[in-house]
C-alpha cells in the first residue's frame, strides 16, 4: 500500500497535477452542484457573482467561501480537513467557510493516489489532497490580491490578507473577499503559487471547529435517507435468504392489496415493493409470497468454513514475504511457540443503512448517495443504463457512517436502486431503503480469516524465525482494484500488516491461501487487512515475549531499531500510560492487567496501551486506553483525537461482541440485538497523544482501529494468563 502511495506521490509532484485550472469556467461547477430537494447546497449561488479560481472553491459576494470536497464526509472529518487546507492558504475567515460534496467527475476530482478515479478510502483523503487543496487556496488568494492591487493601483506586494480581508496598510484601504470576488474572477490564474512555511500556519495544527457540527446537532444535516423528491417512490426489497439465491416465482397479490403500494417489480436482486412512504413499502414487502431458487446458493456455515480453512492451513500457501531461511531457523530452534487464530465475518453496520436515490430522465440519470466510490459507481450505472458516464450525475450527501461499506467494489446497492428505477421505466424517482435487516444480511463483510503462527527461539533465547500463514477470501480479486493491489495472485490487503511486519526477525515467511469457492461477498472494513493481522501479530509477539521472559515494550523496542516511527509512538504511549508501574488493584475477585500493541496502517503509526479489569465470571471491562499517534502533520489535532476515540470504540465492538455467523448459508444476525456495537457504558476513557511531526499528513480514519484489540487481549493475558485466539472474546473462558 505504501509503495503505491509513494509512487503516486512522486508522480503527483512531477506531473504537477493538482490544480485543475483548465476547467476554471465560472458556472460549470455550479451547474453540477446538488441543488434539488436535499439541502441548501445550491441555494443562493448567483452565476454572475462568483468566481471559481479552480474546481475546489468558490467565493460569493456574501463573503462565503464554499469548498467543494472531492471526498465523502462519513464522519471522519474530511470536509473540515480539506476546508482547513484551502482556508489556511487563502487566509479566509474560518467562520465563513462551508463545505459541500463535489459531483462525480474523475477529471477534476480524482483521488491523486488512485490515478483516474474519484473516491474515498484507505485513509487517503488528507494525504492525497495535502498540496492540491493548499494550492487551490493559494491561487485564489493570489487572484484576490491581484484584483485589489489593480483596483487601488498599488503593487500586490504592498497588500496583506487576513481573515477574509485584503488590506493596503499605507492607504488604509481594505476590501472583503466578497467585495473582490467578481474582479478576482477576471484575473489570470497564477501558474505557480508559493505555499506557506508551516511556521505561519494559523489553522493547520490548531483548533478549527468542524464545519458540519451545527447541522449535525439540529437535525438539518441531509443524508440520503432524508431525500424527498417530487413524485418519489420508496422501494423496499425482498432479498434471497442465502447468497446466490434467485427468485423462482412470486405472488404479489397480498403486497399489492396493501393500501398505498404502487408497484411491485422483480429485479435481479429480488422483488421490490414501491410505495409513497417507507412503512407502506415495508408492509407490502413483508406481504410478498416468494419461492426462492436456491439451487446455486451458498449453503456452508461459518464453522464449516473455518474447518476448511484449518485444513488449507496445513499446506503452504502463496508466499507474500520471505526473509532469510525460515525452515533452517525452525530446524535449529530450541523452542517453538505456536498459536492459531479465528476471525469472523464482520458487518459494517453503519447507523444509516444503505440507501440510494435514483432519478432517470430522457437525458441521463441523477443519483443521490453518500457516495464513496464516485467513479466506480458512475461507470457501473452508466453500464447498466447504457449511458455515458458523464450522463450520470451524482450528488454526494453526508453518509451516516460507512466504514468502507459505501465504497462497494460491485456498486451493489447503487445498482439495485437503478434496477428498480429501470424496472418502472423511470416513471418516478426511486429511493431504495434497506431496512436494518436488509443491510446486515447483504454481505460485503470483512472476510472471515484463519491464521496460524509459529516463532522459533534459539539456544540463547533469541527470536530467529517467524511463520505466519493466513487463510481467507480476497477482497480485491475480481474487482476493479485487482490490477493495482493483487501481485502474483496475492491480494495485498489480505496480508497487509502481516507481510509488512516491522520487527527485525532474520528468518520470516508469510504465506496466504485465498479460497475462491466461498461465495460470501466481502469488502474492506475500517482498517481492512490490519483489522485481523494486527491482532495475530501483536498478541503472538506478546506470547513470544512471555516465552522469552521479556517485557513486551522492551522486546518491541529491541526489534524496532530500524523503525523509528513505530518506536516513537510506542515509547510515547508507554510513557504516558505509566508502563511498568503497578496498576491499582481492582475490587476483590477482579483481575487487572495492562497490555500494549503498536501497528502501522495507511502510513500512520499508532500505539495503544489498554488497562482492563476482568471480573470473576470472565467479563472484560476496558477502563482506559492510552493512544500515541504519528500521522505526520496533524491538520486538525482535535479530529485526530476524535478518530482515535472512535477507532477504539469501533474496534472494541468487534473484540467484545462482533460476529456475523452463517448457518447453512443463512446469516444468523439481523439487527443490533445479535450484532451489537458497544454502548456508552462499555466505552473506556481514551487519552490521545499526538507525536509532533513535520512529515506530510497520512491517514487518520482507520489507523486507530488495529492496535486496540491486541492491546486489550494482551492486557487480558496479563490479568489472567490466557490468550484468547478466537474473536469475538468468549469471556466465559476467562472465568476465575
Amino acid at each position: 500500500m505504501s509503495e503505491l502511495i509513494n509512487l503516486s506521490r512522486r508522480q503527483f509532484l512531477q506531473g504537477g497535477a493538482g490544480l485543475t485550472l483548465g476547467y476554471a469556467l465560472p458556472g460549470v461547477a455550479m451547474a453540477a452542484l446538488p441543488e434539488a430537494g436535499p439541502g441548501k447546497a445550491g441555494a443562493g449561488l448567483a452565476a454572475d457573482l462568483h468566481f471559481e479560481p479552480n474546481a475546489f472553491l468558490r467565493i460569493d459576494a456574501d463573503n462565503s467561501v464554499t469548498v467543494l470536497s472531492k471526498h465523502l464526509e462519513m464522519g471522519q472529518g474530511t470536509y473540515t480537513g480539506l476546508a482547513t487546507l484551502v482556508a489556511e492558504e487563502l487566509d479566509a475567515d474560518w467562520k465563513t467557510v462551508r463545505v459541500i460534496g463535489a459531483p462525480a467527475d474523475a477529471r477534476r476530482y480524482n483521488n491523486l493516489f488512485w490515478g483516474p478515479a474519484q473516491g474515498t478510502g484507505g485513509s487517503t483523503a488528507m494525504a492525497n489532497s495535502w498540496e492540491q487543496m493548499r494550492k487551490a487556496g493559494a491561487a485564489a488568494r493570489a487572484m484576490l490580491v491581484a484584483a485589489a492591487a489593480e483596483l487601488w493601483g498599488v503593487p500586490a506586494s504592498a497588500l496583506s490578507v487576513s481573515e477574509g480581508v485584503v488590506r493596503h496598510a499605507a492607504s488604509r484601504r481594505q476590501a472583503s473577499f466578497g467585495q473582490l470576488a467578481e474582479a478576482a474572477a477576471r484575473q489570470p490564474v497564477p501558474a505557480d503559487v508559493k505555499l506557506k512555511d508551516p511556521a505561519q500556519f494559523r489553522l493547520i495544527g490548531k483548533k478549527a471547529p468542524r464545519r458540519d457540527t451545527p447541522e449535525k446537532t439540529d437535525g438539518s444535516a441531509q443524508f440520503t435517507q432524508d431525500v424527498h423528491l417530487p413524485g418519489m417512490l420508496v422501494a423496499v426489497v425482498a432479498h434471497p435468504p442465502r447468497f446466490g439465491g434467485k427468485v423462482r416465482r412470486f405472488d404479489a397479490a397480498a403486497a399489492k392489496a396493501v393500501p398505498g403500494v404502487v408497484e411491485v417489480v422483480q429485479i435481479p436482486q429480488g422483488v421490490a415493493v414501491l410505495a409513497k412512504d417507507t412503512w407502506t413499502a415495508k408492509t407490502g414487502r413483508d406481504a410478498l409470497k416468494i419461492e426462492w431458487d436456491e439451487s446455486a446458493a451458498f449453503k456452508l456455515g461459518s464453522e464449516e468454513i473455518f474447518a476448511r480453512y484449518r485444513e488449507l492451513a496445513k499446506k503452504p500457501g502463496l508466499v507474500a514475504r520471505q526473509d532469510g531461511d525460515t525452515d533452517a531457523a525452525f530446524k535449529a530452534a530450541a523452542l517453538v511457540v505456536s498459536a492459531s487464530y479465528d476471525f469472523p465475518f464482520l458487518a459494517h453496520a453503519a447507523m444509516e443503512p444503505m440507501n440510494c436515490v435514483v432519478r432517470l430522465s430522457a437525458t441521463g440519470c441523477e443519483v443521490w448517495n453518500g457516495e464513496q466510490l464516485h467513479t466506480g459507481d458512475q461507470y457501473a450505472l452508466a453500464g447498466l443504463l447504457k449511458l455515458k458516464p458523464e450522463q450520470v450525475t451524482i450528488h454526494t450527501l453526508y453518509a451516516g457512517g460507512s466504514f468502507g461499506r459505501r465504497a462497494c467494489k460491485d456498486s451493489d446497492y447503487v445498482l439495485e436502486a437503478a434496477h428498480i428505477a429501470k424496472a418502472i421505466d423511470g416513471r418516478a424517482p426511486v429511493k431504495l431503503v434497506w431496512l436494518r435487516e436488509d443491510d446486515m444480511r447483504a454481505g460485503y463483510y470483512r472476510p472471515l480469516f484463519h491464521h496460524v503462527m509459529q516463532a522459533a527461539l534459539d539456544q540463547q533465547g533469541k527470536l530467529t524465525g517467524w511463520r505466519h500463514r493466513l487463510v481467507g477470501q480476497s477482497i480485491l480479486i475480481g474487482s476493479p482494484f485487482e490490477k493495482m493491489l493483487v501481485k502474483n495472485g496475492i491480494d495485498q490487503v489480505s496480508v497487509e500488516g502481516a507481510s509488512t511486519l516491522p520487527y527485525a526477525i532474520p528468518n520470516l515467511t508469510v504465506d496466504v491461501h485465498t479460497p475462491m469457492d466461498i461465495a460470501v461477498p466481502v469488502l474492506w472494513w475500517r482498517s481492512v487487512g490490519s483489522s485481523h493481522t494486527a491482532y495475530s501479530t501483536e498478541t503472538f509477539l506478546d506470547q513470544v515475549a512471555a516465552a522469552m521472559n521479556k517485557d513486551p515494550v522492551a522486546l518491541r523496542l529491541e526489534l524496532l531499531a530500524q523503525h523509528p516511527r513505530h518506536a516513537g509512538v510506542l515509547k510515547l504511549a508507554a510513557d504516558k500510560a505509566g508502563w511498568g508501574k503497578p496498576l491499582n488493584p481492582g475490587k476483590p475477585g477482579e483481575r487487572r492487567g495492562r497490555g500494549v500493541a503498536v501497528h502501522e496502517s495507511f502510513s500512520s503509526y499508532v500505539a495503544q496501551v489498554a488497562e482492563v479489569t476482568v471480573a470473576k465470571d470472565g467479563a472484560v471491562r476496558v477502563d482506559r486506553v492510552v493512544c500515541a499517534v504519528d500521522c505526520g502533520i496533524a491538520i486538525n489535532p482535535d479530529n485526530v483525537r476524535a478518530q482515535l476515540e472512535g477507532g477504539v470504540g469501533f474496534a472494541l465492538s468487534a473484540l467484545l461482541h462482533g460476529a456475523i455467523t452463517l448457518k447453512d448459508g443463512r446469516v444468523e444476525q439481523e439487527n443490533f440485538d445479535t450484532y451489537a456495537p458497544i454502548r456508552i457504558n462499555e466505552m473506556p476513557r481514551v487519552d490521545v497523544h499526538i507525536l509532533p511531526s513535520a512529515q506530510p499528513p497520512s491517514g487518520i480514519g482507520e489507523p486507530g482501529v488495529p492496535p486496540l484489540a491486541p492491546a486489550v487481549a494482551n492486557a487480558v493475558a496479563a490479568a489472567t494468563g490466557k490468550w484468547l485466539t478466537r474473536l469475538p472474546f468468549k469471556t466465559d473462558e476467562l472465568a476465575a
Partner: protein, 158 residues
C-alpha cells in the same frame, strides 16, 4: 386521518394507524431530523419526546398518540436544556457521521430535565439505549457534563 401534536402544532397525517410515529414524522411531515436506525427500539436514533419523556418513535404507532405532545430534534431548541445540550455538542464537536446524534441529543435533554447533575453512571444508564457506531461516547459524556454545568450556572445558551 390521524391528528397529532408535533412540536406544539396540530398536524393531520393520512397514514395507516399502525404506522410508527417515526415514518409519519419522516415521510409524511418531512421532519427528517429523527432518524431510522433499526426499527426495533434497539439503537435510539429515532428518539423523540412524548409528553417530555424520551421514546423510540420507530416503535410507537401513531394511533397511540392521540392527545399527546411530541417534540422532535427540530424543536428541541425551544427548551433551555435543549439549547444547552446543542451548545455543548457544538463546543466539543461531538458528532462524527452525525446520523445518531438527533437521538443522542433528545435522550440527553430528557436526562437533564430530570437530573440536573448526572454522574457518569447516570449518563451511562440514561444513554445506553442510544448506539453510536462512530463511538463518540467519550464526547457525549463530556458534553452532557458541560451542558449540566452551564444550566446550573445559569449561563446563557445561544
Amino acid at each position: 386521518m390521524i391528528q397529532l401534536k408535533i412540536n406544539g402544532k396540530a398536524q393531520h397525517v393520512e397514514v395507516a394507524p399502525d404506522t410508527p410515529l417515526l415514518w409519519a414524522l419522516r415521510d409524511t411531515l418531512l421532519l427528517t431530523g429523527t432518524k431510522y436506525g433499526c426499527g426495533r427500539a434497539l439503537c435510539g436514533a429515532c428518539t423523540v419526546h412524548v409528553d417530555g419523556q424520551p421514546m423510540r418513535s420507530c416503535s410507537v404507532p401513531v394511533s397511540a398518540l392521540a392527545g399527546r405532545s411530541v417534540t422532535t430534534i427540530e424543536a428541541v431548541a425551544a427548551q433551555r436544556a435543549g439549547r444547552a445540550v446543542q451548545a455543548a455538542w457544538r463546543k466539543l464537536d461531538v458528532p462524527q457521521c452525525g446520523y445518531c446524534q438527533s437521538g443522542q441529543i433528545m435522550s440527553a435533554v430528557a436526562l437533564l430535565a430530570q437530573n440536573h447533575k448526572p454522574s457518569d453512571a447516570d449518563i451511562d444508564a440514561a444513554m445506553s439505549g442510544n448506539l453510536c457506531r462512530c463511538a463518540t461516547y467519550v464526547r457525549i459524556r463530556a458534553a452532557i457534563h458541560e451542558a449540566a454545568r452551564n444550566l446550573a450556572l445559569g449561563n446563557p445558551t445561544p
